[in-house]
């Protein structure tokens, strides 16, 4: 099994631990990943609000490189997945638009045209579609560990684009947590948005919801929150202190990238999955 990896900007920077843990986990699961050479930012769900067409062509370029590699694309960020899949859906549905986009790629000197031959999927979806990948690999089942499953918005919605499972009633993250031997816990704020994309424009609200999510997971008895999105992870982890302040809570909960949680169950240590790079609740994680 081999994928063209679209890491996304934060895995190169603030969430580098998500990249290192992903590489280690994929190796253990025999998933070969090859980074898409010279990929660019997906637009981070903001570029289309500045210029929709430019954001679309940029992602057509990203996908076309993977097509040239002959591989489907694996992403590890909800927002990247949504941006790439939205671009793909629009181009595959609208021949005229595809033609226009390809002519822009060509006149700009990009060597490949967008064809529509590579699928775009998320690391979590791959694990859900291929439970056999984990078979016999969970050497350190996380028994007795309560994990709050936090999907994040862009892996669930809109259903039309993100059609893995039912976005109004997703169960696959919980399913994976169980497969790792842990126990998924239900918490009130599990379907709330972390607010990452509005952190600057609506700061007070975003910190409030950050606090609510962490507090709610804590009240539900979760030892950690696990999320398939590095942006949600950054929001909840980096702003946990401000979040606590906003909702007058004492809760401290570790926020795990999904691949870190998988890695721990596969026998990697906390250090190997890069947990020492987390801002919040380092000492609270009792696994690995």
């Amino acid at each position: 099994m081999k994928y063209a990896l679209f890491p996304g900007c934060v895995l190169e920077g603030a969430a580098a631990e998500a990249y290192t843990s992903l590489k280690k986990v994929c190796e253990k699961l025999n998933i070969e990943i090859e980074e898409i050479p010279n990929w660019t930012c997906c637009g981070a769900s903001h570029a289309q609000g500045v210029n929709d067409l430019a954001a679309l062509v940029i992602n057509a370029r990203n996908i076309s490189i993977a097509e040239h590699m002959g591989l489907d694309i694996m992403t590890v960020c909800n927002t990247c997945t949504l941006q790439l899949r939205t671009a793909k859906m629009r181009l595959d549905k609208d021949a005229k638009l595809k033609e226009k986009v390809n002519s822009i790629l060509k006149e700009s000197g990009h060597p490949y045209e967008y064809k529509g031959t590579s699928k775009v999927t998320h690391f979590l979806w791959i694990l859900d579609e291929h439970p056999e990948l984990l078979a016999g690999k969970v050497v350190k089942p996380l028994s007795g560990v309560k994990i709050a499953a936090y999907y994040g918005c862009h892996i669930l919605r809109p259903q039309e684009v993100m059609d893995h499972g039912d976005g109004k009633h997703p169960e696959y993250l919980e399913r994976l947590i169980r497969a790792l031997g842990a126990e998924p816990v239900w918490f009130d704020a599990s379907r709330k948005c972390c607010g990452f994309h509005a952190q600057l424009a609506a700061e007070h609200d975003v910190l409030t919801v950050t606090g609510q999510i962490v507090d709610s997971a804590d009240r539900a008895g979760a030892m950690a929150i696990a999320t398939p999105c590095p942006l949600c992870q950054m929001q909840l982890d980096m702003y946990e202190p401000e979040g606590r302040h906003a909702v007058h809570s004492q809760a401290q909960v570790p926020i795990l990238h999904l691949q870190q949680l998988v890695g721990l169950a596969l026998g990697l240590t906390k250090e190997e999955v890069g947990f020492n790079r987390h801002v919040s609740a380092q000492e609270k994680l009792k696994i690995g």
Binding site: H46, I58, C153
Partner: protein
């Protein structure tokens, strides 16, 4: 098969959950189930409905946390989706509740009024001879004319749940985009200024509105289109717009986001400086290193050309 409906009741200040059982029939919608309960079991259960064919917008409720038009949602499909024969029905979120499943629409009108909710026809048009518009221009906004004001989009809107005072309902943004994209209107700026003032950039981009709209109107997409229009009209002097523009510009500058500069570009040196404690915290765990130089994509020239050419093509299509 029997289905248990746990209905959130609210009558004259008293709030409780009441269980009812209905027998599932072919084609039974949530609305039909509610009507059957009212007529056969409990006349006090209150809700509103009118057309029962998904065009009047009167009957939206939340089922298991998700807004649905009661008249078009089959109980059978919900039972399948949630894999249960127990469903919880609540009034829409982000509305005041008047009684049971009936919510208060009045504050919403004032919010619609904020955007100047009518076309201001160009001077060449008249009452006597109407307006002119090409089929292509009609296509630019026709989707947004399909809003039925059912309120589903705002029910789970994360921003509205936190604070409604500095943000509008997604359906109001849909109305605004309908007007801004309508070629008959002589001053789209007026609607745009109003939406910027009323919180355009505070959208969380959580896509709940788009997921809930029973008419497939994509309110989140409408919000993005409004943002794009504010750039075209030079109404981009605010934190949210600067942040989006900074991200956009990073693509042309290096290909990827330069996290260390993003806040400075969005908020200016002074505000970003106030974030020093956060920066120190990130440096401590190695998440941020001021000495790092941001890598530039080797194909940056092509990437710049792509952005330039796309911008030119977009302008031409206007």
């Amino acid at each position: 098969m029997d289905v248990k409906l746990r209905i959130h009741r609210f009558v004259e200040g008293r709030k409780w959950v009441q269980n009812y059982t209905v027998t599932l029939k072919v084609g039974m919608t949530v609305l039909e189930a509610l009507i059957e309960i009212k007529e056969k079991q409990d006349p006090t259960l209150s809700f509103t409905c009118s057309c029962r064919s998904s065009i009047c917008g009167a009957c939206s409720v939340r089922v298991n946390g998700n807004a649905e038009l009661a008249c078009e949602m089959l109980v059978e499909n919900l039972v399948k989706r949630y894999d249960t024969n127990e469903l919880t029905i609540e009034p829409l979120g982000n509305f005041k509740v008047i009684r049971d499943l009936i919510v208060d629409w009045d504050p919403k009108y004032a919010r619609i009024k904020k955007i100047k909710p009518v076309v201001q026809p160009k001077d060449e048009f008249s009452k006597d001879k109407g307006c002119k518009q090409s089929p292509e221009d009609f296509n630019k906004y026709k989707k947004y004319a399909g809003c039925i004001l059912c309120g589903s989009c705002v029910s789970e809107c994360n921003k509205n749940t936190l604070n409604q005072e500095d943000f509008l309902d997604p359906f109001v943004f849909v109305k605004a985009e309908k007007l801004v994209a309508d070629s008959r209107d002589k001053s789209p700026e007026e609607h745009l200024k109003a939406v910027v003032k009323a919180g355009l950039w505070r959208c969380f981009n959580c896509q709940e509105c788009t997921a809930k709209c029973p008419k497939g109107l994509d309110p989140a997409g409408a919000i993005e289109k409004l943002k794009e229009a504010t750039f075209k009209k030079g109404l981009d002097d605010n934190v949210g717009a600067r942040h989006a523009k900074a991200i956009y510009d990073d693509i042309s500058e290096s290909g990827t986001l330069d996290e260390s500069k993003l806040n400075i570009k969005s908020e200016g040196f002074l505000m970003a400086g106030l974030r020093a404690p956060m920066a120190l915290r990130l440096m401590r765990v190695g998440k941020m290193n001021p000495l790092d130089t941001h890598k530039v994509n080797p194909e940056i020239d092509t990437i710049r050309k792509i952005v330039k050419n796309a911008e030119a093509a977009a302008k031409e299509a206007e």
